[in-house]
């Protein structure tokens, strides 16, 4: 016996998307063929899960090449800042261009074009981010943190923290601890 099938690709793809998105519990709206608007921002785990699940059907989330390179720049910087085992003996611009195989000028322009920010700025944000983690989760003093992050002095770290966030490291710590207290009280009263 032979069957002749007629496919309506539009319906097929819609149905696949619907099933995959529902399975992962992601809310979305269809904007047109091949375009989707998400109601809520995805975490990178959710994004990866979605990507993997769509791949089985030959559906690929389109990313452009420039964004991918920018992502690599960010990964390298984050590794430089957060991972103490990554020993960077050279200037960070040299390190970046050596690791990624492009000139620093090219990387820097591309980065600014895509992220509306600069590599230097991104590096500062990451360092401050790391110092926030250390302030909250370790017993290290600010002086020790400054040393760990290669700041020339504790004053330099404090100033950069204040310039980047608008608040001082100690005010930051106080606010987050108060938030934690409130969250704690909430769970206790449940």
């Amino acid at each position: 016996m032979k069957l002749f099938l007629k496919f309506d690709f539009n319906t097929v793809s819609k149905k696949i998307l619907e099933d995959r998105f529902n399975e992962l519990n992601i809310q979305y709206k269809t904007l047109g063929f091949g375009e989707i608007e998400l109601i809520k921002k995805l975490t990178s785990d959710e994004y990866d899960a979605l990507n993997a699940s769509l791949k089985d059907y030959g559906i690929v989330i389109v990313e452009n090449e420039k964004s991918i390179l920018v992502q690599k720049i960010k990964d390298v910087i984050r590794d430089m800042v957060f991972n103490e085992d990554t020993n960077v003996n050279v200037k960070s611009s040299v390190y970046l261009s050596k690791t990624l195989g492009h000139s620093y000028g090219y990387l820097s322009n591309l980065f600014s074009e895509i992220t509306f920010s600069s590599i230097e700025n991104f590096m500062i944000i990451q360092k401050i981010e790391y110092s926030k983690q250390l302030i909250l989760n370790t017993d290290l003093t600010l002086t020790e943190i400054a040393f760990k992050l290669n700041y020339s002095s504790v004053a330099h770290l404090s100033t950069q923290f204040k310039n980047t966030t608008g608040i001082t490291p100690s005010a930051f710590q106080r606010i987050i601890f108060k938030r934690r207290d409130i969250a704690q009280q909430k769970t206790n009263s449940l």
């Binding site: 809310q27 109601i39 921002k41 994004y47 964004s67 509306f116 909250l136 608008g166 930051f172 606010i175």
Partner: protein, 148 residues
């Protein structure tokens, strides 16, 4: 990563402030989509409605009729669906007490309304670009505090 514009919402009862706000964004390089609401009740109705697009950044005036910015802030922080929204307090008050209180309640950014349009543009552009860093880089939102 996934979308190339930022969705912003402003809740403010002052019409001039709303106008300055939308104008400032239309002159920035970053692609934005701006919605405004006249008070806290309108805002919360929108956010609670099924299928509403959640903004990436929400600007809240503190002094609004019917529902204040603080009340909105508390409601939003207690709602899982709205957990991804970065909250900016946008107020004329510069009292240290207000500032710390809103931060403790979960606000991410505190902006004192500037007195000139150019300053406003500069500040808003800074907020949007730093927030962009946060949501494209998986930085820890719980630790995101900024005062301008």
């Amino acid at each position: 990563m996934q979308n190339d514009y930022i969705h912003l919402i402003l809740a403010d009862d002052d019409e001039d402030d709303r106008l300055f706000f939308t104008d400032a964004f239309s002159e920035l390089k970053i692609n934005t989509r701006v919605n405004t609401f006249n008070d806290g009740v309108e805002l919360m109705n929108y956010l609670n409605k099924e299928g509403s697009l959640m903004p990436n950044v929400l600007f809240l005036d503190l002094n609004m009729p019917k529902k204040t910015g603080i009340e909105c802030l508390i409601e939003i922080k207690n709602n899982e669906k709205m957990s991804g929204i970065a909250i900016v307090i946008y107020s004329t008050s510069a009292s240290e007490e207000d500032i710390e209180k809103t931060f403790v309640l979960g606000a991410n950014i505190y902006i004192k309304k500037p007195d000139s349009f150019n300053k406003l543009k500069k500040i808003l552009s800074e907020v949007v670009s730093i927030n962009w860093q946060y949501h494209t880089n998986g930085l820890n939102k719980d630790n995101f505090l900024l005062r301008l």
